[in-house]
C-alpha cells in the first residue's frame, strides 16, 4: 500500500497512461491508413521505432535532475533560434513552407523543437528577476523576446505553427498574472472575428458577451466605447488585411468559411474529412473497413488528419475515447501546473499544457470542420518523429516537475 502510494507520488499515471493509450491508438490509425498505400506502407514500422525512441527520451527527461533544465534555458533558446534561422536558408520546402531541415540521414522540423526553447525561455523571463508582466517596460521586453521565434516561423512561412506559438505565449502570460482586462482587450477582437465567420447571429452573440464583460471590468465610458468600436471594426480590418495574404492562405480561409466553394480544390480535404468522420456512425466501419480511408480520399491522412481515420473506422465511441483521454491528460497537466511550487517549473508545465491543448483544439476542430484548416499534428497520434519526440520529452519534463513538485528553487 505504501509502496504504491510512493510510486503514485513520484510518477503521475493519470498523465502517462492516457498519453500511452493515445500513442497506441495513433499507431493503429497509422497502420490502417498506410498499410495499403503505395508509397507510405513503411510508415507504420517507422513510427513504431520512433515511438520506442520517444519513450526513451521521455525516460531521460523524467530522470534528469530538474535543476538542469534551468541552466539550459538560454543556450536552448539560442540553439532553437539558430536552427530557425538556418532552416530559412537550407530548409526543404514541404507544403509551401521552408520548414524541414536535413542533417545527414536525419530530418527534423526546427519549429517543433523551437516550442521547447520558447516554453523554457518564456518561463525563465516571466519568473526570474521578479519581472512584472503588468509593468509596461517588462512586458515589452518579454514580448520582444518571445516574438522572435514567431517572426522566424512566419518567414518560413508556417502560419499554423506561428499561431501555436502565439497561443502558448498568450496562455503563459495569462498564467503569470497579467491583468485580465489586458487579456480581454487582446483576445476579444480575435474571438469576434472568428465568430463572424459563422454568420451574423454568432457575431452579435459575441458582441453581447463583450459588452457584458465590459460591465464586469467597470471601466469608464470612453474606454468601453473604444473597445466596442474596435471589436466591431476588426471584421472590416480583416477584410482589408485579407487582400495582403498569399492566394493559398486566402483560399484556406475561404474554404473554411464555405468548403463547398471549391469542392475539388482547397475545400476537398475538409469535405472528405467530414464525410469520413460522419459516415463512421456510432460504432465505426471497423478496423481497415473505412472506404474513405482505405481508398485514400484524404491525402496524407496519417499526419494532420489522423483523427478522421479513428472517426471513420471506430465511430463515435472511438472518437469520444480520444477526446476523453485528452481531457484527462489536459486537466491533469493543469492541476500539476498549480501543484508545482517552483514558479519556473509551474510555468513550464503550464506552457506544455498550452502547447498540447492548442494542438489538440486546432487539430480536432479542423477535423470536425469547426476550425480552419491549419496543418498542425495531433499530439501523440499523428505520424512524425519531431512532433512525437518533442511531446514525449515535454511529458517527461512534466512528470519530472511532478516528482519534485514540493521543491522550491
Amino acid at each position: 500500500m505504501k509502496a504504491t502510494n510512493k510510486i503514485n507520488d513520484r510518477f503521475d499515471f493519470a498523465v502517462f497512461v492516457p498519453a500511452i493509450l493515445l500513442l497506441i491508438i495513433g499507431l493503429v490509425a497509422i497502420y490502417s491508413s498506410t498499410v495499403n498505400h503505395p508509397t507510405a506502407s513503411g510508415d507504420f514500422k517507422k513510427q513504431v521505432v520512433t515511438s520506442i525512441i520517444a519513450l526513451i527520451i521521455f525516460g531521460v527527461a523524467y530522470s534528469l535532475p530538474n535543476r538542469m533544465y534551468k541552466s539550459f534555458v538560454i543556450p536552448g533558446f539560442i540553439i532553437s533560434l539558430f536552427f530557425l534561422i538556418v532552416v530559412l536558408f537550407f530548409g526543404k520546402t514541404v507544403y509551401g513552407a521552408k520548414s524541414w531541415l536535413s542533417i545527414g540521414p536525419i530530418g527534423f522540423q526546427p519549429s517543433e523543437f523551437g516550442k521547447i526553447g520558447l516554453i523554457f525561455f518564456l518561463s525563465y523571463l516571466l519568473t526570474s528577476k521578479r519581472r512584472n508582466p503588468n509593468n509596461v517596460k517588462d512586458f515589452s521586453i518579454i514580448l520582444a523576446y518571445s516574438m522572435l521565434p514567431v517572426l522566424l516561423v512566419i518567414l518560413e512561412p508556417d502560419v499554423g505553427t506561428a499561431i501555436v506559438y502565439i497561443f502558448i505565449i498568450t496562455i503563459m502570460l495569462f498564467w503569470s498574472g497579467i491583468d485580465l482586462f489586458f487579456v480581454f482587450v487582446a483576445v476579444a477582437p480575435i474571438a469576434v472575428l472568428f465568430s463572424s465567420f459563422f454568420g451574423f447571429a454568432a457575431f452579435i452573440l459575441l458582441m453581447i458577451i463583450v459588452v457584458a464583460l465590459l460591465f464586469y471590468f467597470k471601466k469608464n465610458i470612453f474606454v468601453n466605447m473604444s473597445i466596442i468600436i474596435f471589436n466591431m471594426a476588426t471584421v472590416y480590418l480583416f477584410d482589408f488585411g485579407f487582400k495582403f495574404l498569399k492566394p493559398h492562405q486566402q483560399k484556406r480561409i475561404e474554404t473554411f468559411i464555405n468548403p463547398m466553394s471549391d469542392p475539388l480544390g482547397a475545400g476537398y480535404n475538409i469535405i472528405q474529412t467530414q464525410v469520413a468522420i460522419g459516415s463512421g456512425g456510432i460504432w465505426g466501419k471497423g478496423f481497415l473497413q473505412g472506404n474513405q480511408t482505405q481508398l485514400r480520399f484524404i491525402p496524407k491522412q496519417w499526419t494532420d488528419f489522423i483523427y478522421c481515420v479513428i472517426g471513420e473506422e471506430f465511430g463515435f465511441i472511438g472518437s469520444t475515447i480520444v477526446i476523453i483521454l485528452f481531457m484527462i491528460l489536459l486537466y491533469r497537466l493543469l492541476k500539476i501546473a498549480s501543484q508545482v511550487n517552483d514558479r519556473f517549473g509551474s510555468l513550464v508545465v503550464l506552457g506544455i499544457f498550452a502547447f498540447i491543448a492548442t494542438h489538440f483544439v486546432i487539430n480536432i476542430g479542423m477535423n470536425l470542420g469547426i476550425a480552419p484548416v491549419i496543418g498542425i499534428p495531433l499530439p501523440f497520434l499523428s505520424y512524425g518523429g519531431s512532433s512525437l519526440f518533442v511531446n514525449m520529452f515535454l511529458l517527461g519534463v512534466v512528470l519530472n516537475y511532478y516528482k519534485n513538485r514540493r521543491e522550491h528553487v
Binding site: 498574472g177 456512425g281 480520399f297 472518437s319 477526446i323
Partner: protein
C-alpha cells in the same frame, strides 16, 4: 485588481472552463455528425467511392429481308473532357492534334455548360488511331481529357438509304430532360427514318457496373463482386423488307436523277426498295460537328433532306387512268368494248383538250395500251366527279397510307365538295373534270400511295399497308418477332381487274404499247407510263408496273423529276429494278417464288 497573481485559482478556473466548453463542443459536434447526420454522410461516402459506370447497349442493326447486313455498328474512339478537372493550358495543343480550329473546345464546352462540370463531355467522335495514340501517351499531362471507345453506325455496306434509315444525333438538353431515366449525356438518339420510328426498339437498355474507385478515380475493383451490376440489353436488330440487291440497283439508277422509287411486294405490302433522290451521305451525320453538314444540306436547292418518296406530291398523269376505267366498269357505265374515236383530242365547250396522238377508234384495253387521253376525257364526264373521286379513295388516294415510317403527305383527290370549298359553289366549270380524267389538275398523289395502288392492281385488290420493317430480332435471345400490318382491300370484281391488267400487260408487251421499249424475253412486265405536268419545268416521268404478270412478285413506282416522257426515263429504271429482283430467284432457287 486582487487577481494579478501568479497561477491564481481564478485563472486556473478560467482555463478549466474554456477547456471544458471546447471539450463539450467537440463531443456535441461528434454527436451531430456521427449520430444525427450519419445517414447523409454515409450516402456521400458511398457515392464517393462507388461509381456507377454506364455500359452502353449496342444499338440494333439493320438486315435486309434475306439477312444481309445493311447498316451495322463499328467501334470508334471519342475524346471526352471533364471540365471540373480539365487543365485549359493544354487546349491549343489538343485542338491542333484534333485538327480543329482555335477555340473549338471552348465553344463546345460553353454549349454544354448547363450540365454538371463533373460529367465528361464528348469533344470529338471518330478520332483516328494516330491521334488517339497521342492522347494515350500524354495522359498524365492532360488531366480531364480521356479517350473512350464507343459504338458508332457503320455505313460501309454499299447501301445509302438516307431517307429510309435516317440518322442519329447526340441527344440535346431538352430531349434529355424529358427522358432522363433512359438516356445519358452524349447518347445518340434517332432523328429521322427508321432510326427515329424504331428508336425504342433499336436502343436497347444501358447496363451498369458498380466499381470501387479511389480518390484519383482509379478503379480498385468491383463493388460487391458485381452483385448489383446490370448487363446491357442489346437493342433489337431489325429485319427489313428491303432487298439488298434491288435497293442497291435502285439507288444506282437514281445517282444522277431527282425523284423517287418504291418497289413493293404486292401481296404483303413489303417495300423492297425505297429511294428518294438526291440522297445525302449518312456518314456526315455521324460526328459531333454535323451541324455544318445539316445547314449545307438544308440550303441545297435540290432539297436532299426532303423525303420525296412519301412526302412529295404530284399529279399522277396517265398512270391514274386505271381508276377511271375501273370505276366505269364497276359502275356498269361501260363494257370493255366501249369505244371512243380519238381525233387528236376532245372539244368541250369552247376549249379543245388535246391527246398525244390521233388514235382513231379506241376501246378500253387499247386506251390503256396507247394511253389515249380522248377516251378518258369522255369517260370521266360519264362517271361524274364524285364517283370518280370515290374510286380514287378506295385505292388509298387522298389519305395517308399509315406507312410505318410516317412522315407522309395525304395528297388530294378533288371532289365537288373540294371545288366548292376552294373556288366557291358553282364558280367552277365541269371542264376542270377533263384534266382529272388524265390524272392532271388538282389531283395530287405520293409515290407511296402509288406503290399501294399498283400493288392493288397487281394483286386483284388485296394488299397490306406498305411497310419497311418485317420483324425485329429480340436483343438477347435472337428470337424473331414478326410485325403484323393491316389488310388493304378494294372490293372490285376480278373480271374487271382482268380487263385493266390486260391493258397494262399490253403497255409493255403490245404492238402499240407506250412502254414497249422495256419488254423482256424472260419476265412478263405489266405497267403504265405517265407524264406528270408541273409548274417547275419539264414534266416528271412516271412509270408504275408489276411482274411477273401471272404471279406478281414485285410492283414498282418510278418518278423521275423534270425529264420528260415516262416511257423514256422512268420505265427503263423500273425494268432494271424488276429484273434485278426477279433474277435473284432464278439464280438461287425458283421455289422461293412459291413460299
Amino acid at each position: 485588481m486582487s487577481d494579478k497573481v501568479f497561477g491564481s485559482p481564478l485563472r486556473k478556473k478560467i482555463i478549466f472552463s474554456v477547456l471544458t466548453i471546447i471539450f463539450a463542443s467537440f463531443i456535441f459536434q461528434l454527436l451531430k455528425m456521427q449520430i444525427i447526420e450519419q445517414k447523409s454522410y454515409e450516402k456521400r461516402s458511398i457515392n464517393n467511392s462507388i461509381k456507377r459506370k454506364v455500359i452502353n447497349s449496342p444499338r440494333g442493326i439493320f438486315f435486309d429481308r434475306n439477312f444481309s447486313v445493311l447498316i451495322s455498328n463499328k467501334p470508334s474512339y471519342t475524346v471526352e473532357i471533364t471540365p471540373a478537372i480539365y487543365d485549359t493550358s493544354k487546349q491549343k495543343i489538343i485542338e491542333n492534334i484534333l485538327h480543329e480550329e482555335p477555340n473549338y473546345i471552348t465553344k463546345l464546352l460553353h454549349k454544354k455548360r448547363i450540365y454538371s462540370k463533373h460529367l465528361p463531355r464528348v469533344i470529338k467522335r471518330n478520332v483516328p488511331l494516330n491521334e488517339v495514340v497521342w492522347f494515350e501517351e500524354h495522359e498524365e499531362e492532360i488531366p480531364g481529357v480521356k479517350i473512350s471507345v464507343e459504338m458508332q453506325r457503320d455505313y460501309s455496306f454499299g447501301i445509302n438509304g438516307s431517307h429510309l434509315f435516317g440518322y442519329l444525333r447526340e441527344i440535346n438538353a431538352k430531349q434529355l430532360r424529358a427522358r432522363k431515366d433512359i438516356y445519358n449525356m452524349g447518347d445518340f438518339i434517332g432523328i429521322k427514318g427508321i432510326e427515329r420510328i424504331y428508336e425504342e426498339s433499336l436502343r436497347g437498355k444501358n447496363g451498369y457496373q458498380y466499381i470501387l474507385v479511389d480518390s484519383r478515380r482509379k478503379t480498385i475493383g468491383r463493388y460487391l463482386e458485381g452483385e448489383n451490376d446490370k448487363k446491357p440489353i442489346k437493342g433489337n436488330d431489325l429485319l427489313l423488307t428491303i432487298d439488298y440487291a434491288t435497293q442497291k440497283v435502285a439507288e444506282k439508277k437514281f445517282a444522277k436523277h431527282r425523284g423517287s422509287l418504291i418497289a413493293i411486294e404486292p401481296s404483303t405490302g413489303e417495300i423492297l426498295a425505297f429511294v428518294s433522290a438526291p440522297q445525302f451521305n449518312l456518314e456526315d451525320f455521324a460526328s459531333v460537328t454535323s451541324r455544318k453538314a445539316i445547314v449545307a444540306l438544308s440550303n441545297d436547292e435540290n432539297k436532299p433532306l426532303f423525303n420525296r418518296a412519301s412526302k412529295s406530291i404530284y399529279p399522277p398523269g396517265s398512270t391514274y387512268k386505271m381508276i377511271a376505267a375501273l370505276a366505269a366498269l364497276e359502275e356498269g357505265i361501260i363494257t370493255k368494248d366501249y369505244s371512243v374515236n380519238c381525233k387528236w383530242g376532245y372539244q368541250y365547250g369552247n376549249r379543245f383538250f388535246r391527246c398525244t396522238h390521233k388514235h382513231n377508234w379506241t376501246n378500253l384495253i387499247s386506251s390503256i395500251e396507247e394511253s389515249c387521253n380522248t377516251y378518258y376525257y369522255q369517260l370521266i364526264l360519264e362517271i361524274g366527279l364524285d364517283r370518280w373521286a370515290k374510286y380514287g379513295r378506295m385505292f388509298g388516294f387522298g389519305k395517308k397510307t399509315n406507312f410505318d415510317l410516317e412522315n407522309e403527305s395525304p395528297g388530294i383527290v378533288p371532289d365537288t365538295e373540294y371545288y366548292n370549298r376552294v373556288y366557291g359553289k358553282n364558280k367552277w366549270s365541269k371542264g376542270t373534270l377533263l384534266s382529272l380524267g388524265i390524272g392532271q389538275g388538282e389531283l395530287s398523289v405520293t409515290t407511296l400511295q402509288m406503290a399501294q395502288y399498283i400493288s392493288l392492281l397487281a394483286n386483284f385488290g388485296k394488299t397490306k399497308t406498305p411497310h419497311i420493317v418485317k420483324a425485329y430480332l429480340e436483343g438477347n435471345q435472337n428470337k424473331a418477332i414478326t410485325l403484323t400490318f393491316d389488310d388493304v382491300t378494294v372490293d372490285i370484281k376480278k373480271k374487271n381487274f382482268d380487263i385493266i391488267r390486260e391493258g397494262m400487260y399490253k403497255v409493255v408487251n403490245g404492238k402499240e404499247g407506250t412502254a414497249d421499249n422495256i419488254k423482256l424475253a424472260n419476265i412478263a412486265i405489266a405497267g403504265k407510263t405517265g407524264t406528270s405536268q408541273n409548274p417547275h419545268g419539264k414534266d416528271h416521268a412516271l412509270f408504275i408496273g408489276f411482274a411477273p404478270f401471272d404471279n406478281p412478285k414485285i410492283a414498282i413506282v418510278v418518278l423521275v423529276e423534270n425529264v420528260g416522257f415516262g416511257s423514256t426515263y422512268a420505265a427503263p429504271i423500273a425494268r432494271d429494278v424488276i429484273k434485278t429482283y426477279l433474277e435473284q430467284f432464278d439464280e438461287n432457287n425458283f421455289t422461293a417464288f412459291n413460299n
